[in-house]
Amino acid sequence: MVSFYGTQVASRFMLGTALYPSPSIMADAFRQSGAGIATVSVRREAGGGTAGGDFWTLIKDLGVKVLPNTAGCYSVKEAVTTAQMAREIFGTPWIKLEVIGHSDTLQPDPFGLVEAARILTDEGFQVFPYTTEDVVLADRLLEVGCEVLMPWGAPIGTGLGLTNPYGLRTLRAQFPDVPLVVDAGLGLPSQAAQAMEMGYDAVLLNTAVAKAGDPARMAQGFARAIEAGRLAFEADPMEPRDMAAPSTPVIGKAFLG
């Protein structure tokens, strides 16, 4: 079990709801993933449209917790207002806070992120900041009230995996008691397993499943990898070494020439 802001969640797999070929394929992917948390957003809807309501009904039927995001926000004001609107619509204090600072990499704006996190925490939100692996930034986010951190593995939608394993290991080591989620940039289950083996508490991804040829099957692949990686972490892996060490006993080997 992993716990975010005192809420226990059975699965360590957090899955996005965007980019699927159809709503039914998305629902299938969720069922196969076993994910306990779904990320969602708020967007403009044409006059009188019911698409948003239909989507919301579908999500509610999946029986998962929702984590609304502030995706696409480049300023503190925009992110805060989006969060306020999302809280009202989805009825949750949880917010995946994105304050983007660079359009090509979608890298978080660290300064805006801390400021928005401070404002939202003061307003009673439970903030899940989409951040980098920077330990100083992590410290600042914790200081303003964040109780979970979500560093990127790689830029959103790239599928490059963990581009800075050293940084992610350092972050994990510096904050052993803070729930840490690798969010974004994963493309393959093996990359999710790598994050979990490092001791990350969960992973959040979307594109890797939604854009796979068979999203439901890929969701299942990720689910197993996440579980495998977590088991490995809990099992306390062996230390690697440079020189070979025979696993089969040497003593008692027959002399055959």
């Binding site: 969602v40 708020v42 809807e45 919301w56 999500i59 925009e78 306020q84 989805f90």
Partner: protein, 65 residues
Amino acid sequence: MKIIVNGVETDLDAPNLADALEALGYGGAAVATALNEAFVPSALRATTPLSNGDRLEIVAPKQGG
């Protein structure tokens, strides 16, 4: 009066935000609103007056990552 609704100039005859949503066909829909870039909670819509040139954003649940 002219209200900019989700970026589109719209002729609207509604004294307040609640009436505007009704007139625009959002009655009962799961939407949230911001007026001139400031969030307006649903409980305050009926007492939030509209003025010519106001910018109204109406958002609904959507897919997200």
